[in-house]
């Protein structure tokens, strides 16, 4: 190893590595600060009432590959002000996915939904299912992962402690703590599993076209089943080519072209 550093070629490659490192660091830092600047510019444009400009600033951040509930919420506001209700609802839903209990997001989403032409009848659900749903989605995905990891680590450490501890009184205490940690770990990891499954399986989308006709089959001349307007949230069940099968909470289902929808 000593030999390598001392040769001329070695010196050059080392120099190159240092430069590469510095470059990556600076780009990362500037990227971060750049996005912050875009966000601020967007906010100022929105405050001025220039919603188109605000959108452009926000969308630059999005195109950089970043997201956040605040960003999506602001974008949703812009679309709402521009009377593009479908896109507004789409972005509010995306914001809600990242921050499920944010009051402002929920209120704006509720207002935006008032402007949707279709009233979907939510079938009444068994109260226990409602509670279970609320419980399941109380914590965000990242909160659940963190909690399950922490409880697992705690559990392991306590277990190790339990193995090596001799005095019975201490052992009892540790045992109780261990069982609690195990319980927490099981619950959180189960919830984590359920939420991950839900996220991967339940794709939802919002209708973006002003009016669409839902067909009975994935082809142009299928029979018309019903009509949907901009802003309706649908669940995506199947995909075939450029068509996707959607279903509504009241049970109605049919086929739509993917291009008329925005996936949440």
């Amino acid at each position: 190893m000593d030999f390598k550093i001392n040769t001329a070629a070695g010196t050059r490659s080392r120099l190159r590595n240092i430069l590469l490192f510095l470059f990556t660091i600076t780009t990362l830092l500037t990227a971060q600060s750049g996005s912050k600047r875009f966000f601020e510019e967007g906010n100022q444009a929105y405050a001025r009432g220039d919603y188109h400009a605000a959108l452009q600033w926000y969308q630059r951040i999005e195109s950089m590959g970043y997201e956040s509930s605040e960003l999506y919420y602001n974008i949703g506001n812009c679309y709402y002000k521009l009377d593009e209700i479908g896109k507004a609802i789409l972005y509010y839903e995306r914001a809600r996915k990242l921050a499920p209990h944010d009051k402002e997001i929920l209120e704006n989403l509720q207002l935006a939904n008032l402007k949707v032409a279709d009233r979907i009848e939510m079938p009444p659900r068994f109260i226990l299912f409602e509670w279970w749903d609320a419980f399941k989605s109380y914590l965000t995905l990242s909160q659940l992962t963190r909690l399950s990891a922490i409880s697992y680590v705690l559990f392991i450490l306590l277990l190790i402690l339990y193995i090596f501890l001799r005095p019975p009184r201490w052992r009892k205490v540790v045992l109780i703590l261990m069982i609690t940690a195990a319980g927490a770990m099981l619950i959180t990891s189960y919830l984590l599993y359920v939420n991950v499954q839900h996220e991967n399986k339940n794709k939802e989308a919002v209708v973006l076209a002003p009016v669409v006709t839902v067909l009975s089959a994935p082809e142009e001349n299928g029979t018309d089943v019903f009509v949907l307007h901009e802003g309706v949230k649908v669940r995506l069940d199947e995909q075939r080519g450029e068509w996707t099968k959607i279903s509504l909470p009241d049970g109605k289902n049919g086929w739509l072209k993917m291009e008329t929808l925005g996936v949440i």
Partner: protein, 606 residues
Amino acid sequence: MRKSYKNLFTGLFILTALFAGFSPASGKDIRVTASVNRNPVGVNEQFRYQLEIKGGFQSLPEPSLPDFADFRIVAGPSVSSNFQYINGKVTNSKTYTVILLPRKTGTFRIPPVTIKYKGKRYQSNEIVITVTPGSSSPGNKQRQSRGGSSLDVFLRAIPSKRSAYVNEQVSVSYKVYFRVNIRNPEFVKLPETVGFWVEEFELPKDIPIKQEVINGIRYNVAELKKLALFPTKPGDLRVTPMQLAVDVVQRRRRDPFDMFDDFFDNPLGRTVRKVFTSNEVRLKVKPVPEQNKPANFTGLVGSLTLRVDVDKTTVAVNEAISYKIRLTGSGNLKSLRKLNIEFPATFEVFEPKVQENVHQSGNKLLATREMEYVLIPRTSGEFHIDPLSITYFDPGRAVYRTITGKEFTITVTPGSGATNLIANSYLPKSEIKLLGKDINFIKEERLSLRPIGYKPYHQPWFWGSIISCTLLLLAAVGYRRHLDKMATNTEYARKRKAYKFASARLKGARAYLKQGKLAEFYGEISRGLIGFVADKTNTPAAGLVRDDVEKLLMERKIDSQLIADYLKLLDEADFRRFAPGDVTPEQATEFYHRAETLLSKLGKYF
């Protein structure tokens, strides 16, 4: 100036003279019609020549009858007149009748008769009569021919054209010609229109009876059926004949003065029910030309007019607009496929209300189709509805034409804020009080960006912590078991500690060496060597002699050379502990190292 007036006057004069002079029957005022009752006629048969002058005047002029040079006048001329005054309308008619007998066979011409009345000339038709050798066939034969056996009744199918394009309207008129009384007509067989789309003309309930002269013989004509046919494919298409059954009042043949037959029912005539068959209709159908055929050709052939209207051009969001299309033409509108109209994307379009009706114009059926679309704009702005174009084929000029309706610009006003919400909404109370409320302001702090598609459960820290903890646990369990074994299992404990103890002993020996206590040095080494094997094999060290050790080592199948080395060392140690002699420190140290190496080698076998 005078010259131009003179020219105009001359022109007018010539025109009037032309009209007056050459009108055979000037239609409006006086009609002169010549007819015979049999054609052809047998050389020995008498026939009747009649000249009818019909007009709207009180008095009619006297005609000069033709010179019947080729015939012999048997009786006449006799005159009968008929005067009608109905609802203020005067119809005056005089009929001159002559009974003639042919002189010889052949084809003869009876020239037209001209009369003059009030400065106008009126001319009748001429008659070409054929005199056959025998007697002519009786009038009631069913066979029909062009040369004309003088039938009493026959049926004709008359098409408006002999050739047409695919989908072009052709009308076929079914007329019954009769010069005897017929009653109770009934369709026995309707024409088969294979290869055509058919629409039927609606004929008046009281069928009017007109008069025509065919082959010089005057017939009554009634139109019983009229069809509008649209050929669906090219080629030679045929419409099968129609069959009609009627009661025919047969004439009495013996009466030479049978001029009265046409005027009243002969109570002595028999009524026979007979079936008459028309001619078939042959139509040559051409396909529309492929050359210059536009891509959006609708398939319509004929005439077409188009009218497009909207009821308002300025509306508020969610208010309805009526877009009406009116198509009229002689083409087959029923074959028109759905019209592709592109309305603005944010207009909600409802299925159109379609109304169709048909009326007759001359010899054609004109169909009108009205389509009313209801449009509801859902967003505000200025929108264009492109003009509607329909391409059809004009068979008269043999060209394709496109007819275009108007284009419209619709201005949609946003309406008040409340109407932006849905017009037909029945919102629950909780939502009604939210109407008009503005959205919350944007978020300005704590941007907390993350890469899109970030999955927290895929992060390295998550899996890292889990895996390292698990490994830690396994290590801890292993260690615990080790400790327990050490505490409970002597054999295990001794075995694990063997090297440690042996090394300790060697260290002790070294200490003795430093102090110069050679006997003790060798003693410790000996004990170390034996103790190592004893620990490793879990044998009590006390009382373990050299030979026992050898046995133990050999039981373990240890390399024989190693055993030999070991025994050599052991023997030397045992010897020297009691008789150290003059061993140099270097020799002793060397011995020490040999013992160390041996132990580590030996350790590999246990």
